[in-house]
């Protein structure tokens, strides 16, 4: 079920009613919420609810097996087996086709004949996200950071519909304790929730969907037919599109959870205002960044095993982060490029700490130049992320310098306005928005309902027709 649809609107009203009606009785409330989440998930394909249930069972069995081991080596072995079992469905569903094609073609190159079964494995939505949450749970049990949750709580933790298909990747200690306490039905932050939901819809439906059709898809579809200005604006437009698309989804998810009395962690914090790539990753898809840090980079040794090993660990983490986004070489190269950016940033930091490299002047002009440089590097990497192959990405990047003087019909005022709107949100002060939220919170239900309806009508009308899926659903 997609958030910006009438199906979801009806579903959510029913769930909202049932949730607050049953809230006082956890023995009924939890099964109700699990059932609702499974309906939400099964709306795409009912067969996938069995996968979600299977991953939940594997996770809890693995966690219990890890928890029972007291001897460190056996505990580590149980963890390795548990993580392998938890991640196995993801590896099969996401990477079977990729490895089949690449292994077969590599073998052919060396004159070998390999004939794996040519099965088309359809990727179930959300599997990458809830698998990462499942791994976090098993590892936290291993580390002693968290105690075994009940089966019902674990099932609800993994399936809770607001985060189910595209995050945020919520840690066990952020959500499971909230499932244990009763939520207060008298104090719902309706203004904050509506702000997030309507703002998220605006970013997704109006800005992201518009830019996709107006310039991004044509430019990335065939770089050879577009001028340098179109190529540059097309790449920048994609940077805005993916931000508005993904942060829009996350805002809706957080807003929906808020209406049900739950808090989700923040997932975006003005990423294009970052002055370095390190800072960018502290602001972009924050729940994935910290997952990669805590469950991959640190276990690999982080920065504790020397400079060379730090670079290797950064590269491994970002290459696997790239592969997590999609089973294709251009995602791997995207991850590798970010790994290289981070390694260079780390090297520069080391030089500065050793006094071998001067600190840049702490002026506004320098800050803006740093922002511009960071944004440019991020956009170059986004080109690899969005293109359907490395070759197409390189062709588009080459086009940014080789086709000046051609007409640029796709660079229109609405396109530039949409890009500006997406970028300006990175730099707006918080206070006016907070004042608006306070004003909204003081409205009575009927005026607030009318306001919601009018804003929804404006969003539906300003956006292109049809429902475009969120970009991160494919991951």
């Amino acid at each position: 079920m997609l958030f910006p649809t009438t199906d979801f609107a009806i579903f959510f009203c029913l769930v909202f009613l049932g949730h607050w009606w049953l809230n006082h009785n956890p023995r009924v409330w939890k099964p109700f919420m699990i059932a609702a989440s499974y309906v939400f998930y099964g709306w795409w394909n009912w067969r996938y609810v069995f996968l979600l249930a299977a991953v939940s069972v594997i996770t809890q069995v693995s966690a219990v097996a890890v928890d029972r081991q007291r001897q460190p080596k056996r505990r580590t072995l149980a963890l390795a087996l548990g993580v392998a079992a938890t991640i196995a469905p993801l590896l099969y569903f996401k990477y079977y086709g990729f490895f089949t094609v690449n292994v077969t073609n590599a073998a052919t190159t060396f004159g070998l004949h390999v004939a794996p079964p040519l099965i088309q494995v359809v990727l179930p939505v959300g599997v990458s996200f809830y698998t990462f949450m499942a791994i976090a749970y098993v590892v936290d049990i291993y580390r002693g950071d968290f105690e075994i949750a009940s089966w019902v709580d674990l099932f609800l933790y993994l399936s809770f519909f607001p985060h189910l298909v595209a995050g945020p990747i919520v840690r066990p200690n952020e959500l499971i304790p909230q499932l244990v306490v009763r939520r207060d039905p008298r104090h719902i932050d309706v203004a904050g929730a509506m702000w997030l939901i309507l703002g998220g819809l605006f970013k997704k439906v109006v800005i992201a969907n518009y830019l996709a059709g107006a310039i991004v898809d044509p430019v990335f579809g065939d770089p050879a037919r577009h001028s340098s200005p179109e190529a540059i604006i097309g790449i920048v437009a994609y940077a805005v599109q993916i931000y508005c698309d993904f942060s829009g989804y996350t805002d809706i998810a957080i807003g929906v959870a808020k209406l049900l009395g739950f808090r989700f962690p923040q997932n975006f914090d003005r990423p294009y205002s970052a002055r370095s790539i390190q800072e960018f990753w502290r602001r972009w898809h924050m729940t994935l960044s910290r997952w990669l840090r805590d469950y991959l980079y640190i276990p690999l040794g982080g920065s504790r095993k020397g400079t060379a090993r730090t670079y290797v660990n950064l590269m491994i983490t970002m290459l696997l982060g790239g592969l997590w986004h999609g089973a294709a070489w251009h995602f791997v190269v995207w991850g590798g490029l970010h790994g290289a950016y981070l390694a260079v940033g780390h090297w520069k930091d080391g030089k500065r700490e050793a006094g071998q490299l001067a600190e840049p002047p702490d002026t506004t002009l320098v800050h803006w130049m740093q922002r511009l440089a960071t944004f440019t590097l991020v956009c170059i990497a986004w080109t690899l992320f969005r293109a359907d192959s490395v070759a197409t990405a390189l062709a588009l990047l080459a086009r940014t310098v080789t086709a000046w003087g051609l007409p640029s019909p796709l660079v229109t005022t609405p396109v530039l306005l949409a890009i500006s709107a997406g970028l300006v949100t990175q730099f707006l002060p918080h206070r006016p928005a907070e004042r608006l939220k306070v004003a909204l919170s003081r409205l009575r239900p009927v005026p607030l309902g009318i306001t919601v309806a009018v804003v929804l009508f404006l969003i539906s009308t300003l956006g292109p027709r049809g429902v475009a899926p969120f970009i991160y659903f494919q991951f």
Binding site: T6, F12, F16, W20, G97, T100, T108, L118, Q120, D145, F146, E147, A149, N173, E174, P177, Q178, D184, P185, R186, H187, D189, V190, M194, A212, G213, D217, P218, G221, A224, R225, L259, G261, Q278, W281, M286, S289, R290, R293, D294, I298, R304, L342, D388, E434, S441, P445, V446, L448, G449, I450, T451, A453, L456, F457, S460, T461, L462, R465, G466
Partner: protein
């Protein structure tokens, strides 16, 4: 990625460091019952404001309970709004916001504007019936139009990449959810007439039929032939023939790209009959050729496969839905169609890659 200098939480089954009920200063909370009023009122009022557009998108859905129920709710609402003059007000508001209420469906930004081309002078007043496509030049590139449904949108995008921009102008006209069965929703013959009159394509690549497993109606919505009855096949073939005649009426050429086999084998019999109709029409009409996508992308044993082996390399070509192609698949299909055009109509091989 964040650095490992930041501490990871070390709590044991503790919640976040602040309660879920804390609100920023000045902001007021609301009880659940009132929030439900806000939600219901917001959605209902939005539904009323957006009812004309919702009705249009419901009409685009294939026959079925979902469409029937949606229209049963929306038609009376829109009828009342029409009588009260609300529809005009809402449509005016939509127009002011840039949405044209009666714009053609299924299109949007994926559909190219039609270029205007002056009519050619035909010897004896009739278009020529040759089987050779003209030689393109950089001054006068070939005009290739891609028409059809979502599959055509896919090949249209990749036609732009396969055909060389200096020698071929690709005009994408694919519109999702359209077909020949429901001219009440989108009238392809009328659109094809417009395309031919205005842009005079040298080559029209057609990929239509994926959405046609439904009863045939007239542009006014009157029933013509019920799907599944004996009336359907000849009536459908007649529509295909009329469409192909229209597309070639000014001397243009047509490649009718057949439908691929979908993963859902229950649909095979119907689609094989559709492909039979496309093939039969191509056999009957000059300047029309049928490209057999089904057998090109079928498994060696004739079944469905998502992979394509060109003798050298294995490629995953089908999308997860088991109907459409992925980017590699559309590229391969478009290259094969271009080569087929060379075989059938002597399309200059310099006009395309691969």
């Amino acid at each position: 990625m964040t650095t490992d200098t930041q501490e990871r939480p070390a709590t044991r089954n503790e919640g976040p460091d602040h309660g879920i009920d804390d609100l920023p200063p000045g902001r007021r909370a609301m009880p659940a019952g009132r929030v439900l009023v806000v939600l219901l009122l917001g959605i209902l009022l939005w539904g009323l404001l957006y009812a004309p557009e919702l009705r249009r998108s419901s009409e685009a859905q294939p026959d079925g309970i979902r469409r029937t129920v949606s229209l049963a709710i929306l038609r009376p609402v829109v009828w009342v709004e029409d009588r009260l003059g609300f529809t005009g007000l809402i449509d005016n508001a939509s127009s002011a916001l840039g949405r044209h209420p009666n714009e053609a469906v299924g299109g949007g930004a994926d559909v190219d504007p039609l270029p205007s081309v002056p009519p050619p002078s035909h010897p004896n007043g009739h278009p020529q019936r040759d089987t050779k496509l003209r030689e393109p030049t950089t001054a006068k590139p070939l005009r290739v139009v891609v028409v059809g449904d979502s599959l055509a949108q896919g090949i249209g995008s990749f036609a732009e990449r396969v055909f060389k921009p200096s020698l071929v102008d690709v005009i994408k006209q694919g519109r999702i959810s359209t077909g020949l069965a429901r001219p009440d929703y989108f009238n392809w013959p009328a659109q094809m007439r417009l395309i031919v009159d205005r842009s005079r394509p040298d080559l029209t690549i057609v990929m239509l039929g994926e959405n046609d497993a439904q009863s045939l109606v007239t542009p006014e919505g009157q029933p013509v032939a019920q799907v599944g009855t004996g009336d359907f096949p000849p009536a459908y073939e007649q529509r295909v023939r009329s469409f192909a005649r229209l597309a070639t009426s000014e001397g243009g050429h047509v490649i009718w790209v057949g439908l691929p086999n979908p993963r859902d084998t229950r649909r095979w019999q119907f689609i094989e009959r559709q492909n039979g109709a496309f093939q039969a029409v191509a056999d009957q009409l000059p300047n029309v050729a049928f490209f057999d996508t089904w057998n090109t992308f079928a498994a060696p044993g004739g079944g469905y496969t998502a992979y394509y082996h060109d003798g050298k390399q294995l490629t995953l070509v089908r999308a997860d839905d088991g109907v459409h192609f992925n980017a590699d698949g559309y590229t391969i299909l478009m290259r094969l169609v271009a080569r087929f055009a060379t075989q059938q109509f002597q399309l200059d091989p310099r006009t395309y890659e691969g």
